[in-house]
Symmetry: C2
Subunit: 272 residues, 2 copies
């Protein structure tokens, strides 16, 4: 595997492009770190697939990233975080940070009435990962999760500020509002791109928890604890590898996140 990164990079992956919201948060918090991002656009999305398939894909990508000398793996995909983080921690020697645990911790810290809502993919909701992570931290919270499979396609269609999207969000929020939540986890790395629309529909009394920002903070702590911070005073580079080239959404997402991509290439992963 060739990589033009000098210092060992942080390896970040997602089923597609959504994980760039985590990359943007890492850039702000850890500007000198090199980042190698893999978006599995040939097999996107993961959110409708089974645990066995998502685990297999996550293992293949982690092999790719560690072969490229990644010093830490960031699972910047809620579905893969929900299904594969324990397995990756067992199988790989580098630290593994997902988005579910940091998001769950932030939500438990934020709630006052102990009623937390989660919007996520079908697979993440089915896994119960957010609920389990929150209950492990505090057993008096009530978690209501709702699968929102149309939000990613709406974002990828570019209908971010749109009357149709607002209606879909309102419909998805209804059972969460009925559960009287005061805290809402955006449990998919695409969703921060809809944060303004969700905030509008949810109203002032519901606090939004963005898993991207909380994940970036967990990465910083993990790097510090493991003495893995890069001692550089120049900005880190961002390399993006996609498994399929046909993603017009990359340009939109990078622009809206204000991300500069230093190198983009397409690679075909080997299935195991």
């Amino acid at each position: 595997v060739n990589t033009s990164l000098g210092n060992r990079p942080i390896g970040v992956f997602d089923s597609g492009i959504g994980g760039l919201t985590v990359v943007a948060a890492l850039r702000r918090l850890l500007p000198t770190e090199n980042i190698l991002y893999l978006g599995d656009t040939a097999r996107v999305p993961y959110g409708s697939k089974s645990p066995a398939t998502v685990q297999r894909y996550s293992r293949e990508i982690s092999r790719f990233l560690t072969a490229a000398n990644a010093k830490l793996l960031v699972v910047a995909c809620n579905t893969a975080s929900a299904m594969a983080v324990p397995l990756l921690r067992k199988e790989f020697d580098v630290p593994v940070v997902g988005v579910v645990e940091p998001g769950a911790a932030a939500a438990v810290a934020a709630t006052r009435n102990h009623r937390i809502g989660v919007m996520a993919t079908r697979a993440t909701v089915r896994s119960g990962a957010y609920e389990n992570a929150m209950l492990a931290l505090r057993n008096d919270v009530t978690v209501t999760s709702h699968a929102c499979p149309l939000l990613v396609p709406l974002i990828e269609e570019g209908w971010v500020e749109d009357v149709i999207t607002d209606q879909v969000i309102t419909r998805y929020l209804a059972p969460l509002r009925q559960a009287n939540i005061d805290t809402l986890v955006l449990g998919c790395t695409h969703y921060p791109l809809l944060a303004a629309a969700v905030a509008r529909a949810a109203g002032d009394h519901i606090a939004l928890v963005d898993s991207a920002r909380n994940c970036a903070e967990a990465v910083k702590t993990t790097l510090q604890n493991n003495h893995l911070m890069t001692p550089a005073d120049t900005d880190g580079r961002l390399e993006v590898v996609l498994t399929d080239p046909a993603d017009a959404f990359l340009v939109t997402a990078a622009k809206s996140l204000n991300l500069e991509i230093d190198n983009l290439r397409i690679e075909h992963l080997t299935e195991t």
Copy 2:
């Protein structure tokens, strides 16, 4: 490869479950034929992916189906039909029938004002396959295509008779209505499940062309021309193979299509 089918089956594939609309049409037209269906649910959808990736997936699946003794391949996916049918015809010894050519022929036969619209995935629209197939039949037609990436997720969410879906359809139809079409191709095998809603939005003066039914008729002709019809007087069997098990939509689709599945199994295809 094990298969419980006696007579050589017709091999049918799609990126997921949508191709069952073609299976339902085949069942009605050719009730004694055995059918082996592969839905590539581990890598669904194809409609947002590149030609190279869709061709690779189509080749892998065709190897699987011909290894199971398929006597004819039906590409029951518009995206794969648009991108891979010529390649499959070159590489495999059995006849290959796609959905694009029969749909294009039916549309050209139906139009009176020579203005035809196509609703399809991004990849199918980008390929220009419908336009090319129609112009090859008749050079005085004007084809207006529009990518409709939200329709499959809306169908899979079960929002088939729904005010939100009606608004999305109306928005997608606007440029086609403006082009004054009198014939509209439903260029994705999922879309027949939305035929009633599309017909309502399009109005009486636009004729809908369902690629599933026209494909089934092309299969019948091809079997007859190649002396491949099964001389049976009992009903054929339907075997379904999925590459990922997590598809609740299978049950919904099979029920709404009135399809009986004799055998369902999960297999993990080998990537090449």
